[in-house]
């Protein structure tokens, strides 16, 4: 009986598929879905740009393309608030924060990756735990510290709490731990001390991770709103996100200048994305953030 079963022709369970058959996403339906999702994501950005070019009396037009275009909104925005100064402040804030977070992250991560010391696991866990503490919990104590130091309404005050980042330490420590141990040992045999091992050997090989992290930190600090809102007293010492908020008043929102200011505020980050889009995507993937 067994051999009869073995010899009997097998019923065809399903049609045979060719290797060249396309995956789901390559089908027409897949493409349509991706196009729809792209439109959903990009449409608000387009609408912001289009609105920034509409005159005030046509602000609430629903036509996709502005019926008449003008740069008045940009002119008003530039006259109403010191946008240039605010953009410079935001750039200084973001660049300095990014640089310091990378520097302190690299040094701390190197220590965690390179050495075993007493309570190292506890310290590492403590660093990870700080990441879980919401900003709202520490904002008042930080504010009081800044006030006591007499640094209110200054760029330094914006930067100080952002000099170190648990995310930078954790990501870099993870990357350094997976760095080939033998390459570090070869550097030791060649006479390199720890400082050289970090800067000559490790950092050049972690460019991808560092670039991804830099982009993440830059975008995050560029979009920072609440902390600058707490500290800023004057428009000249504010960041662009506060500047945009100035167009939203109790009497109503000035949508035109608001959209214009938002467009100007988005430009640096858009430029970074255009130049480094591969690293931007990778950075979001690595951090698990959308």
């Amino acid at each position: 009986m067994t051999t009869d079963v073995l010899r009997a022709p097998r019923p065809m369970a399903r049609p045979l598929r060719r290797i060249s058959d396309k995956s789901g996403l390559d089908t027409a339906a897949g493409h349509v879905l991706m196009v729809l999702l792209s439109i959903l994501c990009l449409f608000p950005v387009y609408w912001m740009l289009a609105s920034s070019l509409r005159p005030a009396n046509a602000m609430f037009e629903t036509s996709l393309w502005p019926t008449s275009m003008s740069l008045d909104n940009y002119r008003q925005a530039l006259e109403a608030i010191p946008i240039g100064r605010m953009l410079v402040n935001t750039l200084v804030f973001s660049v300095v924060s990014t640089a310091f977070q990378l520097l302190t992250g690299l040094l701390a991560a190197f220590a965690f990756a390179r050495w075993t010391f007493a309570l190292d696991k506890l310290v590492y866990s403590a660093v990870a735990l700080t990441w879980l503490v919401p900003f709202q919990v520490v904002m008042i104590p930080n504010y009081l510290l800044i006030a006591q130091m007499g640094l209110l309404d200054s760029i330094v005050a914006l930067i100080l709490p952002n000099l170190v980042s648990a995310l930078a330490i954790l990501l870099l420590a993870q990357a350094m731990r997976s760095f080939p141990r033998e390459v570090i040992e070869a550097a030791r045999m060649d006479g390199a001390r720890n400082w050289r091992i970090l800067w000559d050997v490790m950092v050049p090989n972690l460019r991808g991770t560092i670039a991804s992290l830099a982009i993440l930190i830059f975008i995050s600090t560029w979009n920072e709103y609440f902390w600058p809102l707490l500290l800023s007293r004057t428009a000249e010492n504010s960041v662009i996100q506060i500047g945009i908020q100035m167009f939203m008043t109790a009497e109503g929102n000035q949508w035109g200048p608001l959209m214009a200011a938002s467009t100007l505020a988005s430009l640096p980050v858009l430029v970074i994305y255009v130049l480094l889009q591969r690293q931007v995507v990778q950075s979001f993937m690595k951090s698990g953030i959308r």
Binding site: P180, E182, V183, E185, A186, A187, R188, M189, D190, G191, A192, R196, D200, V201, P204, N205
Partner: protein, 373 residues
């Protein structure tokens, strides 16, 4: 440079010992190969010499100077790693020049040393390439160049050929030996490959389970293995080893399907438990009945220049090396002769060699035999 001496060197990880008191003296200019199975502690020993592992107890000395607490770069050692450990972001030139850059050598001197090393290792045309653009053999040569350029007193090689294909391994082995003759630097080479060990070594150190089993020239280690471990480890195929007993009058008796068979005479006391070893190439195999111990050929390995017949003798497997031939032997009954002068004796309790001659047995196996193939 003076001799490299390891005195009662011990190493433990979390209280678990991996090296149990190693004593070795490596004379200046010698090529020493440390061979042993995976996990025997040979790489750990090498790394301790390099300064990459801490010493639990014991000393590492070059001449009179104890090196235990000296930084790796200051010990006068250079290491070639198993996985090359090249700096992936640097060119070949920069990789080789890196130790000189750290030593703050002037650029002109640095460049000339790099070019000299590149010429010796045939790397001149690859100087501006990165490691990812090189083959395995080229990368290994770059790793050697980076070691050479430091002009060390001691070269340390940690299984540098294990990632290369068979042909390249042979070529690189010859290059390493030529380099050693040229530079005359002390070299310590770690490998698990006994062919590499035999062909490269001036002095061979066989290790097992954190202990040194034997130190000697390759010929010495092969012809007079000091322990059962060395006997079974060195040689391919491995030495045939089987338990034996000393009977009355010093008769050396082994178990065979036909019962106890005397295969020789010794001066050992009756009842001494011994293990007998015979190399496959010393076994004599005959198809003529009654000319030795009866066995059946299970499997024949064709090696081109020779054949290895794996036979079953009672309940154990015996390997015999035969000259090339076309005769079909698998499944056939054969008779094996163990020439007394080719037998090695080991104390079955301690595993150590018993250096007593074995003479022909007075009876049981005829002295005449045939080699039928």
């Amino acid at each position: 440079m003076a001799d490299l001496t390891l005195s009662n060197l011990k190493k433990s990880y979390d209280g678990k010992p991996v090296l149990h008191g190693v004593d070795i003296t490596i004379p200046d200019g010698h090529f020493v190969v440390i061979v042993g199975p995976s996990g025997c502690g040979k790489s750990t020993l090498l790394r301790m010499i390099a300064g990459l592992e801490e010493v639990t107890s014991g000393t590492i000395s070059i001449g009179e100077m104890v090196m235990n607490d000296i930084e790796p770069a200051d010990r006068g050692c250079a290491m070639v790693f198993q996985n090359y450990a090249l700096y992936p972001h640097m060119t070949v030139r920069q990789n080789i020049a890196y130790p000189l850059r750290i030593a703050k050598l002037p650029r002109a001197e640095r460049d000339s040393k790099v070019e000299a090393v590149a010429r010796i290792l045939n790397l001149t045309e690859y100087l501006d390439r990165r490691p990812a653009q090189l083959s395995g053999g080229q990368r290994q040569r770059v790793a050697m160049g980076r070691a050479m350029v430091r002009e060390p007193d001691v070269f340390l090689f940690d299984e540098p050929l294990s990632n290369l294909d068979a042909l390249l391994r042979v070529q690189m082995r010859i290059e390493i030996k030529k380099l050693h003759r040229r530079l005359k630097a002390t070299s310590v080479f770690v490998t698990h490959d006994q062919v590499e060990a035999m062909t490269l070594a001036d002095t061979l150190i066989v290790m097992n389970a954190g202990r040194v089993e034997q130190i000697g020239s390759p010929a010495e280690v092969y012809r007079k293995p000091a322990s059962i471990f060395v006997a079974g480890f060195m040689g391919a195929p491995a030495m045939n080893l089987f338990p034996a007993a000393i009977g009355a009058g010093g008769a050396l008796v082994i178990d065979a399907p036909t019962g106890g068979v005397g295969i020789g005479r010794t001066s050992l006391a009756e009842g001494t438990p011994v293990t007998v070893g015979v190399r496959p190439e010393n076994l004599l195999l005959s198809e003529t009945a009654g000319t030795g111990l009866p066995a059946t050929v299970d499997f024949v390995e064709e090696l081109g220049g020779s054949r290895v017949a794996y036979c079953t003798l009672g309940d154990r497997e015996i390997a015999a090396t035969l000259p090339p031939g076309d005769q079909q032997l698998e499944g056939r009954s054969v008779w094996l002769t163990l020439p007394p002068e080719a037998l090695h004796l080991y104390d079955r309790i301690t595993g150590q060699r018993v250096d007593v001659p074995v003479h022909a047995a007075r009876s049981s196996i005829p002295s005449a035999f045939e080699l039928s193939m």
